[in-house]
């Protein structure tokens, strides 16, 4: 089934066996409530890594039954992320989520060479799935958070992640727009040049699973009429499932515009580790956290 609304992920997950979420330093109400909500919906099992007394206290305060979780005690946020990653590596959990610890600590535990979650040479990147209210389908894009200025190799990795996420959401042959300053191939503008190279690589079968077009201006990616006016004939134009942004500024501005200006829902995931990793921020809404957990569960 092709997911066209984020809510539909819940329906799909309810029909599957539950994946086990491991939340690192899950001692805050935000995290515990999001996990509790997902557990209650019956879409995951929750493992909370953190100070047991604190977790139980927060549960009590918010009238959450702690018995619905498996609680793995640890004393400090300094060791929580490593402990959570260890659980995944021991096969006791299927995907990871960040609790109240710093992003830096969380990422370091994932990236740790000896006991982290990375395969050699893998590239860690952030993928967002948004449900823009005036677009006819989901939009999957990156990287708005981790890689500031991806080089060609990183852009190819991100493109592959976008396609993979889309496929896990049931989109069989996702259409990928490579966003750039112009649809012209201007060799001196890196966004245009890299997009042209990636599109050609896709044409040669070196990137598989999607229909890839670029360089394209943002208008051509999401608006068919603009494409018609500019004479651009590509199935991607106006019907893109995925967008590769050339840098974090472009992606991040788009992300925040969707959330704040369009008031649309979205969720996100970190790709590239051996398991999907949830990386929500405290600024995210409750529903967005829940969607992010569901997205990771879809991919786990």
């Amino acid at each position: 089934m092709e997911i066209r609304k984020l809510d539909q992920m819940f329906e799909v997950l309810k029909t599957r066996s539950k994946k086990r979420l491991v939340a690192a330093w899950a001692i805050d109400a935000h995290t515990i409530m999001a996990v509790s909500e997902a557990v209650k919906m019956g879409i995951i099992e929750g493992i909370l890594v953190g100070d047991e007394a604190k977790i139980i206290a927060v549960c009590k305060e918010h009238e959450i039954d702690p018995a619905q979780f498996r609680i793995v005690h640890c004393d400090s946020d300094a060791v929580a992320a490593t402990k959570a990653v260890d659980l995944i590596n021991a096969g006791e959990g299927d995907f990871l989520m960040k609790g109240l610890l710093s992003t830096d600590r969380y990422m370091r535990a994932i990236l740790n060479k000896e006991r982290g979650l990375m395969n050699p040479g893998a590239i860690l990147s952030h993928v967002t799935v948004a449900e823009p209210m005036n677009y006819h389908k989901l939009l999957i894009f990156g990287d708005v958070a981790i890689i500031p200025l991806p080089d060609l190799k990183q852009k190819i990795a991100i493109t592959n992640y976008l396609i993979k996420v889309a496929q896990f959401l049931g989109i069989k042959e996702p259409k990928v727009g490579l966003q750039a300053a112009s649809e012209q191939t201007l060799p001196k503008i890196p966004s245009c040049a890299d997009a042209a190279i990636i599109a050609k690589m896709a044409e040669r079968g070196q990137i598989k699973g999607g229909i890839i077009e670029g360089p394209l201006g943002m208008d051509l990616i999401i608006d068919k009429e603009s494409a018609v006016i500019k004479g651009m004939q590509s199935p991607v134009c106006g019907d893109a499932d995925c967008i590769l942004f050339p840098n974090i500024e472009a992606g991040n501005a788009f992300y925040k515009t969707i959330v704040k200006l369009l008031k649309s829902h979205l969720c996100a995931i970190v790709m590239g580790a051996r398991v999907p990793c949830v990386l929500t921020s405290r600024g995210d809404s409750e529903i967005s956290k829940l969607y992010s957990i569901a997205l990771a569960a879809m991919l786990a």
Partner: protein, 302 residues
């Protein structure tokens, strides 16, 4: 177009003699082809150099009476400068190198205030090959001038070759950008340039042709290979033009073919305001003659 002799037919059909200024026309290697073209009536040679040494060449005896002019200048440097000046002043249509070093000759062609190259223009070399085993003429670049062309120079090579193809009556030439593989990879920087060029063509930034690359020579010129490999390419083994990544590759390609497969060629310097003929001494008499005929056609375009 299948045969280089068709270039000669077209040159004759122009109905006017092309004036070719030959710098230091004391060269036995080129005089034969020049005399032949003059005798057949489509070329009017202006021979610049020592009159004595020119007339001492056995091949000069075959020049048609009244069908040529000699400008008697003893000094090589002065003769070369005068030939370039005449072409620049439109007193002649085509410039040709005689018994003067290529470096010295091209220095004059490239001179900013006396030469034949517009500011910022790229100088390159395109060559049309007639090959016994190919079903039409095959244009290739750059066999002689640019050692390691960058992206802009490669684009210039494409545009010059396309223009030559148009002159030869090939309306929408198929341009293959040649590499060792059809895959795009950063490890082979030329394939990156090729990806950019083919995307530029797709976006209409290069026109008048169909471009694809990277492709290897098989995918460019051999339809069965295209089928076997299953690479979807509009060139489909029917290329009119091959753009090579560097001079060594292009040069080895054409010389290998001339030597082992037979065939003839007609080549010209590209990028100049008027055609410039520079021939290798080792080329066959016929090839030299075809180079001259080609310059007659290209002068119409310059």
């Amino acid at each position: 177009m299948k045969h280089l002799s068709e270039i000669v037919t077209k040159a004759k059909a122009l109905g006017q003699k092309t004036k070719i200024a030959v710098a230091v026309a004391e060269d036995a290697n080129t005089m034969g082809a020049l005399a032949r073209a003059a005798s057949e009536g489509f070329v009017y040679p202006i021979l610049i150099g020592s009159k004595e040494r020119i007339m001492a060449l056995p091949q000069a005896q075959e020049l048609p009476k009244g069908g040529y002019n000699i400008i008697d200048i003893q000094d090589t440097d002065k003769a070369t400068k005068e030939a370039v000046r005449m072409v620049r002043a439109s007193e002649a249509d085509v410039l040709m190198k005689g018994l003067v070093g290529t470096d010295q000759f091209l220095r004059e062609v490239l001179s900013k205030d006396r030469g034949l190259l517009p500011p910022k223009a790229v100088m390159s070399y395109t060559c049309a090959l007639e090959l016994p085993k190919y079903h039409k003429l095959l244009l290739i670049a750059d066999t002689a001038v640019l050692p390691v062309p960058d992206l802009n120079q490669k684009i210039a090579m494409v545009n010059y070759s396309v223009k030559m193809a148009h002159t030869l009556g090939i309306k929408q030439p198929k341009v293959a950008l040649i590499s060792a593989t059809e895959k795009v990879s950063e490890g082979m920087p030329n394939t990156i340039d090729y990806a950019l060029i083919s995307k530029m063509a797709e976006r209409g930034q290069i026109s008048g042709c169909t471009i694809d690359g990277p492709l290897d020579v098989f995918l460019a010129c051999d339809p069965p290979s295209v089928q076997i490999k299953g690479v979807p390419t509009p060139i489909a083994g029917d290329a009119d033009i091959l753009i090579f990544p560097n001079l060594e590759t292009a040069n080895a390609f054409y010389k290998g073919l001339m030597l082992f497969a037979g065939g003839e060629l007609a080549g010209l310097i590209q990028g100049t305001t008027k055609p410039v003929v520079v021939m290798s001494r080792s080329e066959s008499e016929n090839s030299k003659y075809y180079c001259i005929a080609l310059s007659c056609l290209m002068k119409e375009e310059s």
